[in-house]
Symmetry: D2
């Protein structure tokens, strides 16, 4: 489904809608797009409950000259949106989301993202990498991506986040990826980026919330280990889950083996979650996600 | 998603559409349903190619008094269908499809279907079971399902199929499930039930087409074995694939082990494929399936 | 690997050993078996830590006239066992373990076990089924297995267990399978059958310990649901894990869907765990299992 | 299980054995290791058939001063090996296998191997990379690995292979990895490296042998795509299979999507197969592999 080249995406728009479920929504929206000369390429919808639930919709469409006429299109749609009291947004596939990656020592998740980025499989503009370690600088800079080393620990959290927030603002960052960034963010930081911070937790949530999940998985003697990618909220590892994955382990494996095996689960789970977000496939509702893929 | 009780499905309809892709289809169809007072519950679409391809759509909707007014609804939709030169059908979820299960000696796939049937998870009316062996009679009849023993071999194929076709006609069978039925059907038989015969082949097609797939998988030393459920055509094991599954094996396993391990893949793959068909989620296009699930 | 017919297993023995790790164990044991004229068919070992850890071994061997000479063989091995201060047992594959299945209303796990039992894939003698409901009587008795209906609730737990324990004793039960038996067992009951009660919990432990795991999984918005088979201890759902499995779910699925999807995971996970126990492939060490498969 | 640092592996040896199955093998080998003061860390065995089959064994052991005394140990074992007419080899975990990676344009499999190499998870010494394209030079050389660009096409195959074979000989290469190298090797080349060339084929063999497997998988409408890692023989894609993996696809995916999805299967399947080979876990018997993991 994924188109990699901006040129291919020149005329591709994505309309995301959520509102109280009621008759006529699909008719009104599709009628609107048709009347505007837009051609629906992909369409997904979900209703929490046909009676009195919430309705969600994602439409991907082709529209000749979208970039020039996006604002007119939005203006025209506003009327319909008002009728149905919709939360909605219209995004252009050609406008890649400005993204910042946070990482600590372990590079595997960062490398996975950079690799897909390199091969044109990640619909993002990776504007910068921020780390509390120097380890990954060489590789990141070799791709022409600025690397900011900001030492961190819980005692200087405020100052650290001040620097980070400034960088994010200067670069107009729309998505923050915590690619195994091992520092906890303050409520203040999180509240400034609602549903725009994606974390990878190295366990099958809600099992093993918090620190040292692999050690605890080993201690419990589980037969599968997992990873979970979720939006960051102020409840540690309690944010809306976007994607999860697992891998089989056995009594042969010690805690170190679990970490090694887990790395490949972590990186693929995070990469999938990030791609879905970048393609506007994820809608957050209460503490859950609707993922249209 | 699945609703098990006919009463729940009293007002549920499914509209399946395929036609040349062109602007305005979704608008016209959703506008129609809205104007009729139908409420869209689930909607899926697919286009083989936005330019000049074929467009497919499945809409599940709630419509008060559907059973009484189905014919009016169809009549009203016919006009739109004509405009877009659609192939289409409207089916009622409350009208369970009359189904016949064919089986030989191995009962595992039959048992799986009967269990889901028993537990109300199979949206079918299993009208009869036909077998060239007596093995499964007791269990089938204990569920009040007629069991017809029709000995078969390739020399008497014509007479056998004559009896089978008569039973299918008498019972107005809409779906034939080959649950490990080890006789080959004649082109004449198949042509009378296009895309209405579902088979389970005990390999990961197109690998190991034909006889003794597990023996050949063992001989080849594969590390995964599979099963494939597909519609039956006159090209052996070449029909449109509905679903596939695999399971891991190793050098520890001999051909008998592969058969044992494979049984659980076969039964779950067949059950999924059958359920999708029964819920009108499968559209056949050329030699492939579009499965809206 | 599995041989289904007792006759095939006439001469097959299984030797399970655990002791402090030290040099010469494998040499001594294999030398012993060789000197006795036994032929090693399968051998597995594990050490928690080559220096000062615990050593575990399972050897499957063929021994002409095993049934007649088992006691002599045990006597002869006792000397070696003493040298290395081993915990050990020698079991005969031909002596199927007497098994009791406990079930409440939901039959899917029971049915799975009976089905494998029927098809000769379960190396057990199912001596009886105990239930606090009548639902499964017909099917169980149709296989010639006694069915005991013992109404249960937490107020009469003691009396209920008294009846159950009596049945278990009368039938010399060696393994108790809780196939979705929804009553909690008392510490007294559990302590009488250490590592001989296998439960299936309908979640990916340690997530969703306790009641209503599917409802809670739905509420949390997980993207995978799971099942866990474990030995029962007096810490609810905290016993040694034997096997786990997962299945993918999405925002399309409500709590009822999760239950339906979960059933097929539960039954296959339980069946695998039970088979491994029956084939003496599971050793419990502290709160974990070593599974030699 | 994997230990990454040579120092940890200083005293670790691996003994691989195959011979006609007969009583006393395990006893003799384990007795020998014990008498030499070696401590068995891991042991696996397999027999194609207890009566008159072939017996395979892999023993991993710790032996103080292995590097100095390896030759004595081998000499001492030769006597036993002769008794049982064994094919055998004793390898030192500390001696990393000299490896050459061949790649064409697509870098994902090469990158996967280099990352694991970088992170110390690949027990190999990657001595050089050979490619018929320049694409991957920068990244390879950034890791200090020599990169040889040797243009190739079927008309100049002989000259190309002459250069390649010379490089392999100069570097005493013990393992050749075809990481999506799209040129066919001549029988002469292959015969010089029996069971020492590992290829990744981008299909679930034996399905889609040969060229354009993803295009053909798309044309067939499969619901799962796969990848297969195998030793190269002179029958195209018919060599002994080491590992396979699959990923789910649907009607939404075109041939390009299958390639993208397949890349992550290919790289993980190849990496597992290569690691097993490097750890001497793979034994080739006839046209199959025994993989002790």
């Amino acid at each position: 489904m994924q188109k990699n080249h901006s040129v291919q995406n020149k005329n591709k728009g994505r309309l995301l809608i959520s509102c109280a479920d009621q008759p006529g929504i699909v008719a009104a929206v599709s009628q609107f797009l048709y009347s505007q000369g837009a051609n629906i390429v992909e369409s997904n919808q979900h209703s929490t409950d046909p009676e009195g639930g919430t309705f969600f919709m994602r439409i991907e469409f082709e529209y000749e000259g979208l970039e020039e006429n996006a604002s007119n299109l939005k203006e025209a749609f506003a009327a319909i949106a008002e009728n149905f009291e919709m939360d909605w947004r219209l995004s252009l596939a050609s406008q890649l989301k400005k993204t910042a990656v946070f990482v600590s020592k372990e590079p595997h998740c960062l490398l996975e993202l950079l690799w897909e980025y390199q091969s044109g499989e990640l619909d993002a503009e990776i504007a910068l990498v921020i780390s509390n370690h120097e380890d990954s600088r060489t590789f990141v800079e070799s791709l022409g991506i600025p690397y900011y080393y900001i030492p961190a620990n819980k005692d200087i959290r405020k100052e650290v986040e001040k620097k980070q927030l400034q960088l994010l603002e200067e670069n107009q960052i729309e998505l923050i990826i915590l690619a195994r960034y091992m520092q906890i963010l303050t409520p203040d930081f999180v509240s400034q980026h609602p549903n725009r911070i994606i974390n990878i937790h190295h366990s099958f949530l809600p099992a093993f919330i918090g620190a040292k999940p692999y050690e605890r998985a080993y201690a419990r003697g589980v037969k599968l280990i997992g990873a979970t990618s979720h939006y960051v909220t102020n409840d540690l590892d309690e944010g809306p889950i976007i994607e999860q994955g697992v891998e089989r382990v056995s009594h042969h494996h010690n805690a170190e083996d679990l970490k090694r095996i887990g790395r490949s689960v972590e990186r693929s789970v995070l990469a999938r979650a990030v791609n879905w977000h970048l393609q506007d496939r994820v809608i957050v509702h209460e503490n859950k996600t609707i993922v249209f893929h």
